[in-house]
């Protein structure tokens, strides 16, 4: 029997099935070439923070809170269906590393915005990269320099407090209350110097007597050589301007030397993480400032909402001061994106400048000339008795309401009117 070779112009069934099968396989595989339009891609927010190093706990809190902000944005529908994504990187608390990571975020990950960092030097390094590339950077830790020329750029925003505001608020509370003779124990870097400068400026109005500024290198583990001298001066107030582990050790040793018997210790920034790490004894009676404490949920509905959402997402944990900054920084940017209706940088800058918000601690807005978030400063004191839960470590003894008068003027910061 001869086989008939069919020279049909129609496609044979086998070929049809094969082609369809291969087509389906390609469509299902991740390598398909699909015509994705640029607008469909996620809105990326780069988030460089010091996950390794002495501020690791604070940094991880910031990541958690930032992820909450992103989740809330996405759950509310995003930008017309377009979702946001947090791209976290570890800057190791090193300016060089931070610059490299930020470059990577901008060039490789193509982030739309950057929010981050802890420590003055590191955020300035990140800012140098972002302002050169025209990417909006919302900084979430303390720095005086970032508000002023030449570091400032129209892409630079500052959600966190700056040393001037913080030391000013603490000084205005403490100086009239505890006495005029003030000694300073200061970490010898930008943060410390900026805080002392702020205190001295505020102190002028109260006629304080500066007994001396005793500086120590960052990472000092033994203050026993400085404390006797400070004690001998018999100050009314000892102002300890340092952060993290330095603060924990300094307070512990100051307690050991019995300084608290005769002197009120104030610190510009009382960090939740440090208080938990060092325990109640070292921090007993110490008064300081902070940007956020979960305990103000009695006062602001926004705080309660933030606390509840955080507790729900993270198994009952409460947000800390630095964590809340992570939330605020990211949420402000995403809200501006929503208001502007796009991720276009100029539109978002305009939207941020116009933003009046209350996301976690009461009313805030960004001042136009330096993009500093005008906000309240909380004066807190460490608690050691009657703790309702593991996060109940402070009591808010005073609040300085948001007031532009507490910031340095635009002219002082060299901004042209």
């Amino acid at each position: 029997m001869t086989t008939r070779v069919s020279k049909s112009r129609s496609i044979s069934r086998r070929r049809l099935l094969t082609t369809a099968g291969v087509g389906a396989a390609i469509a299902a595989s991740p390598f398909r070439i699909s015509p994705l339009r640029a607008e469909e891609a996620n809105i990326k927010i780069g988030f460089p923070v010091p996950l390794t190093g002495p501020y690791g706990t604070e940094a991880q809190d910031q990541v958690r809170a930032a992820q909450l902000a992103v989740a809330q944005f996405n759950d509310a529908g995003g930008l017309g269906g377009r979702k946001a994504e947090l791209v976290v990187r570890d800057d190791k608390l090193n300016p060089g590393e931070a610059a490299t990571r930020t470059l990577e975020l901008v060039e490789k990950e193509k982030v739309n915005f950057v929010v981050g960092s802890l420590s003055a030097a590191v955020q300035l390094a990140i800012n140098n990269v972002t302002k050169e590339r025209g990417i909006i950077f919302n900084s979430i830790s303390q720095s005086d320099a970032i508000n002023q020329v030449p570091d400032f750029s129209r892409f630079t925003f500052h959600e966190a407090l700056n040393p001037h505001m913080t030391s000013g608020a603490v000084g205005r509370y403490a100086f009239p209350k505890f006495g005029k003779k003030v000694a300073f124990l200061t970490a010898d870097y930008a943060f410390g110097h900026e805080m002392v400068r702020g205190f001295l400026e505020v102190g002028k109005a109260f006629n304080i007597e500066n007994l001396g500024d005793f500086r120590h290198p960052i990472g000092t583990t033994d203050f026993s050589t400085l404390l006797p001298r400070i004690q001998a001066l018999k100050p009314d107030i000892l102002c300890i301007s340092n952060f993290g582990r330095d603060q924990q050790i300094a307070l512990r040793q100051a307690t050991d030397f019995g300084i608290k018997k005769t002197t009120q210790i104030i610190v510009p920034v009382l960090s939740h993480g440090s208080r938990v790490a060092a325990g109640p004894q070292a921090f007993e009676g110490v008064i300081g400032g902070c940007s956020f404490y979960w305990g103000i949920e009695d006062k602001f509905a926004s705080t309660k909402a933030f606390n509840d959402a955080f507790r729900k997402m993270y198994n009952g944990k409460l947000p800390t001061d630095y964590g809340a900054l992570g939330y605020g920084g990211v949420r402000a940017v995403l809200s501006a994106v929503k208001n502007a209706g796009s991720v276009d940088t100029d539109k978002v800058i305009a939207a941020l400048e116009a933003l009046k918000y209350d996301y976690y601690k009461g009313p805030q807005y960004y001042r136009k000339c330096d993009h500093q978030s005008v906000q309240s400063v909380l004066i807190i004191r460490s608690k050691s008795k009657g703790l309702r839960n593991e996060s109940d470590v402070f009591e808010v003894i005073s609040t300085e309401e948001p007031n532009e008068a507490h910031l340095r003027t635009c002219e002082e910061l060299s901004h042209k009117a």
């Binding site: 390794t52 002495p54 690791g56 706990t57 007994l211 001396g212 005793f214 500086r215 290198p217 990472g219 583990t221 033994d222 026993s224 050589t225 400085l226 404390l227 006797p228 001298r229 004690q231 001998a232 001066l233 582990r245 924990q248 050790i249 512990r252 040793q253 050991d256 030397f257 019995g258 790490a277 060092a278 325990g279 004894q281 070292a282």
Partner: protein, 294 residues
């Protein structure tokens, strides 16, 4: 300078003594191990740190500080002997470099293991209740706990002195430090001696770590800073000399303390200046033997 008077200098001297006490304990172990075994123990800082963490662990298990004072040197000493037996012993005949490299690498491993077990951020270490507060020592108020550190160091030194000078074992150790060949010829098992010396040296380092813990808390990196300073002490005092370690340790503590009174920015650097001067004037240190490194 405001407030400078004899009282303040007295207080600074005491602060220097307390500071120096920790250096002394740390440097004695280093000196012992170098003097006897000719091993530069770069892991000494890690043993110091392990001592602090063992103390922390004992407290976590429900013990108190006084139990730690006994448990920590025992535990760290045993661990040290294990390290000597299994790791360092194999490298004795190979000159001074190999054990040095080994201990250097060991320090990294130990720090990393502690990081894995206890986390990277460290823990606070509370001063025991009995030792809290400050006492008036005549020139001013001084923390009771630091006085305790000075006292504990003196006690350890006394025990060590009695052990070395008044027991047969101590005699063998001193002889072995003088000339290990002859001691071997006389039929003494020198490797057992070295095992015990390494154990004692690391035990004292662990004890120093425990004493330092309430002063500054406990972090995995606490051994590295003190190691650098302790090498200054051993160089100034003379490598291999215990008396030298004691004198130099106290001297270094007092130099740091007093220079922070007069030139605070130079305080940490001042000890290296001291080391430079001593090396120029007397290269083997106060009580070291000349030519030990050759």
């Amino acid at each position: 300078m405001a407030g400078l008077n004899l009282d303040l200098i007295g207080l600074q001297l005491f602060a220097g003594l307390a500071l120096g006490a920790i250096y002394v304990l740390f440097a004695i172990g280093l000196s012992l191990i170098f003097g006897m075994l000719t091993v530069v123990n770069f892991a000494h800082g890690a043993f110091y740190m392990v001592g602090a963490y063992v103390g922390l662990y004992v407290l976590m298990l429900g013990g108190n500080f006084w139990i730690c004072l006994v448990a920590v040197p025992l535990a760290v000493g045993l661990f040290g002997m294990l390290v000597e037996r299994l790791l360092i012993r194999r490298l004795y005949r190979r000159g001074i470099d190999y054990p040095l490299l080994l201990t250097f690498g060991l320090s990294y491993v130990m720090v990393e293991l502690v990081r894995i077990a206890f986390g990277k951020i460290g823990y606070p270490f509370d001063t025991p209740e009995l030792l809290q507060g400050a006492v008036n020592i005549g020139v001013g108020y001084f923390p009771l706990y630091r006085l305790f550190v000075i006292g504990a160091t003196a006690a350890v030194l006394l025990c060590l002195w009695l052990f070395l000078e008044r027991t047969r074992f101590g005699l063998i150790i001193r002889a072995g430090a003088r000339d290990s060949q002859i001691v071997r010829v006389l039929g003494v098992d020198i490797s057992r001696i070295w095992l015990i010396v390494f154990g004692i040296g690391t035990a004292i380092a662990g004890f120093a770590g425990l004493l330092a813990a309430p002063l500054q808390g406990v972090i995995p990196e606490m051994g590295s800073t003190i190691l650098a300073e302790a090498f200054v002490v051993t160089v100034v005092g003379g490598m291999g000399s215990i008396g030298g370690a004691v004198l130099a340790g106290l001297l270094v503590g007092i130099v740091i303390s007093l220079s922070s009174l007069f030139v605070p920015e130079m305080a940490k650097v001042s000890i290296f200046a001291l080391m430079a001067i001593v090396l120029i004037v007397r290269p083997q240190g106060f009580f070291g033997r000349a030519g030990l490194m050759s």
